[in-house]
Symmetry: D2
Subunit: 343 residues, 4 copies
């Protein structure tokens, strides 16, 4: 059994992680830590755990020097900045770390400072951390002590774009993305109040969103450094994310559909849609799966590639469990195969 602890159990990613871990046959759930909500029952914070044993667990304080004791792995589902402090201490306790937050994703500490406004005080770990996108880094994840779980937008964009990159012209790639509101985290805020969000949509963070350098970094990792023009939009739904990507091709590959099918052959959590299918985010609700689809405008040599997922699952907690499975030599699918409830 893999003994896990969870920090940030009271947030949306934390709750979703616990839902998945609760059904994972190789996992033993240890301490659950929280910030302001410490001291409450899990079910008091997430009513969906009412009536379950897990729901009666009391959330502990986030004591980084104790949380990892006796654990094999700690999941961190924290606002940015906190994992920089927590990760080194947990690792020192002999506990591997999967950071669902943003602190170890950007390889370059100066980039971190530029986009997150903080000095990065654990640069060695930044270099050691493995970017947890299994479809690219599977072998390295298996060996990692510290995994930086990708952001929701970067996961969808990367999986949509990867097969195209060898054919992409050397110009900026446009990623126009749409996300449900849970991606913004769980917090008291007028901005995300129901009456501000429902029956309305809006762009935000235009040309300034923190996932921009993360997407660009993944493209570079994959051998195709490109500028990224990224426009996220907030959609009146809780979960679900779609990245619509526009890529000019150097020359048209013979068969784009086949290119995608080959690239993702055998991938358990990427579904390549057929030429008469397009993603529907609601159908991915609760499931660790990314749907990708591609269309081609020959006249303009422009490919339109789609990546869709549940931002809390393949875009956060599900992918984190997928990474855990890889790190502990368990079948990658374990605990992640329940059929989705749909929207």
């Amino acid at each position: 059994m893999i003994r896990v602890v969870v920090a940030g159990a009271s947030g949306y990613s934390g709750g979703e992680l616990l839902r998945i871990l609760a059904g994972h046959p190789e996992v033993e759930i240890g301490r659950l830590a929280a910030g302001e909500q410490a001291g409450k029952r899990l079910a008091g914070v997430h009513p969906r755990f009412r009536g379950t044993e897990l729901g009666e667990r009391v959330l502990a304080e986030s004591d980084w020097n104790a949380l990892g004791e006796g654990a094999d792995v700690a999941f961190l589902a924290l606002p940015h900045g906190h994992a920089i402090t927590a990760a080194p201490r947990l690792l020192a306790q002999g506990c591997r770390v999967i950071d669902i937050g943003a602190d170890f994703r950007l390889r370059d500490p100066q980039q971190y400072t530029r986009w997150y406004g903080l000095e990065h005080s654990a640069v060695d770990l930044l270099h050691e951390a493995v970017y947890g996108l299994p479809e690219v880094f599977r072998p390295r994840i298996a060996e990692a002590r510290l995994v930086a779980n990708p952001g929701c937008y970067p996961t969808a964009a990367a999986l949509a774009l990867l097969p195209l990159l060898p054919h992409a012209a050397d110009e900026a790639i446009v990623v126009d993305a749409k996300s449900g509101v849970s991606g913004a985290g769980r917090k008291a805020s007028l901005e995300y109040a129901f009456s501000e969000i429902d029956e309305s949509l809006r762009p935000y963070g235009v040309l300034s969103h923190r996932h921009t350098p993360e997407i660009a970094q993944t493209l570079a990792f994959a051998g195709a450094p490109r500028q990224v023009v990224f426009t996220p939009h907030l959609i009146p739904m809780i979960r679900g994310l779609l990245a619509t990507c526009y890529v000019r091709l150097e020359e048209e590959p013979e068969d784009l559909q086949a290119l995608y099918s080959e690239r993702y052959r055998g991938e358990p959590f990427v579904t390549v849609l057929g030429p008469d299918e397009l993603p529907v985010t609601g159908s991915l609700r609760g499931v660790n799966r990314c749907e990708v689809a591609v269309r081609y405008d020959a006249e303009n040599r422009l490919a339109v590639a789609f990546g869709a997922l549940d931002n809390l699952v393949k875009g956060a907690a599900g992918q984190a469990v997928q990474n855990m499975n890889l790190m502990f030599g368990v079948d990658e699918r374990t605990g992640l195969e329940a059929a989705p409830t749909g929207s």
Copy 2:
């Protein structure tokens, strides 16, 4: 022209009030005051006023000693407790007051203390205030210096119940009500976050909601003192409110449908639905109208009465303007006749 000032312009009721006042031909909009948002442009707080002159107005501090100067009437759209301080000062400036909040609704200061947890320090005004339900108190409203604008639930319940009261058995009346989220006000709060509200409903304030004594008081005003068992529910929509009321009758009146039609004949803002119609809250969006309907279960001598309205309009700002029209001798319909946009 009626010179109006508005306190609480940054909230949902305040914004809706300004929308209505902006289209009112007899009104000149004066100072707009706010709390924390003071200093901002109105359009910065309510983006729907972008591109309009009103939107460029800057929200003033809530200085109760100055706000009313030169004004004919002040609208107060404030959290409870604040109008107790504000109203006397505004009245002292010769300005009439329409309080959209709860401070002057309950005649009995002890009831106020019991339900709102505050001493009422303006008891004389409490006795002077007129309860602003035009369908019951029209003549007194016309003369009032201080109008206590009814709550959203009490308006819907009262209008649903009034025709039945002379026939109601002497037992508790059940009011099972459902409301959109804007009724809770505009504030940073996890409880009303989109991801907590959408695709979910819940009862709240069961047997303890502050509108309970207000509904009971209206029944008593109307000559039928009854206990009220009130259960409000929070619905995943921004606006709209429905009160479903269950009333045992002493004896069946000859024709309930006719009873309703007669009671509301000539009422400009109450629509009695026919025997083959039921309310649809979305159809009332943005409009100062209450729809009422009644059905009868003869076997159990139980009437089921419905009252539906837009909680921000006939349940708040629209009714406040209706009251203003009465107070200033303007046709009651003025500024309130635009057709609704629907949901």
Copy 3:
């Protein structure tokens, strides 16, 4: 392994049933039948099954003389009227039947005719059928050849009311219920179009809804025949159902909270909420659980009882699987224990 077949696989209950069966370790899924959608891939009808083996299955025609061959049990998720024809033929093939529809719920064929407008042509089966509410009929369900799976409203109302019945005064019980839209089934219809439903709520079927006699029948089964005044409301959400019930008590029991806890002690799928908790339907999304809560107004001797569930799970497909488990001697919880995704 239990060999199951499903008729009505293309609807909402059918899809939810397949989601649950796909994760059930004792089940082997056989033929899937549909009406108009016959001939399509399951994933073409329910995109959430894309990327799964089950999704590639082709929906068969609904041939009642062949569907049951070699199967242990057939689930029928059909519009009313169809199971009257299907059930006898399936039983004749040696296949037990769980009817998620309404055809075998009302014991009295005249009641069926009155409320559903059809003659019942399988009256013998009507008398044989067991009403599949495990919390009342568990032993008989285990032996049944034909189970009539309860309606969504009747399940929520019955579970909310059962503990109170021995104490209920002999007068009509009011059930004011609120449901998401999926309860109306999956069909092309303007009435349930997004633009007609979102941001709006409405009562429907007032004093005439078909679940009225079914609720009354359950009360009678439980030894407390009472009239039921039932008012359902349509809520702008896909799933989730709440029954708010008002019951006058003959005399107050000592401790209502304890009464509920005792009645449901050991029940795996009923959660009695504590005195500081109220149901939140979204927290039950996708899970086979009913939450009940009770409050008491001593002055009026009126209990307010709540029953909440996911109308497609404990209100339909989940309860059907619970019944199947009972019928085949499998632990009742099997396949029904995944934690909910929440809303």
Copy 4:
């Protein structure tokens, strides 16, 4: 007074048109025609007109030889194909025509046939019709007998792009658009059922949507013929539309913000947002206004331009009334100045 008649009064655009016309001081509303709904009261079809005189009007059959008699102008809010028959007959009755549908938008009948799958049997009128985008064709609209009211996407895209066109590089322009569901029209359809749409988003009509040639035609009208790569997405909201447009510039203009402000100076229904504002579609609900905003990525010489509107108002019925005002010499703002209710 302008005497108007309306065909297609039972649809979403038709209903919205009637809402606006009902508040228009220079309009006298004549016959209302419908298809299948003919014979019903307007309020029976659109409950938001309950309690109004207009709501009691009975919808007439769509008799094109009689509808225009005595009318100054007919609005057609019909599915494509119908106006080709209706418009010539109405014009023959001396009645001017504003077609809210698509039949007279594309100048080239072969384009019409290619995208709409029909022969165009009124080619002369196609050449005569004026494209009703006042911000481009104001003088010609004033003189027109037949106005082709623009589509919702083309209006938003055109207004977002117009100021940039003189600076746009000669390559395809990407328009990634998002729309509420009412844009698909009012019809019984599973595709737009609440349970299929809520909590989900999806692209549709990728590289094949009928608004593609209409957008391209407007760019050509404006002197900048460009290919258009258009990707619409369906969003879980009733109303609201956003076009996010990506345009490579030949060279950077000095001040993009000023460019927009100058282009739209004096335009009553286009609001240029400031550098710290972005569109929020909900704030435009019910109002005839398009918000545009622009951002610039200097490194890639790529402008990101936004156009937002209410698809039923500035994207349909509101713009139609704006065109009517121009055609009849009434101030363009008449009847279109109510403040929005917000979402």
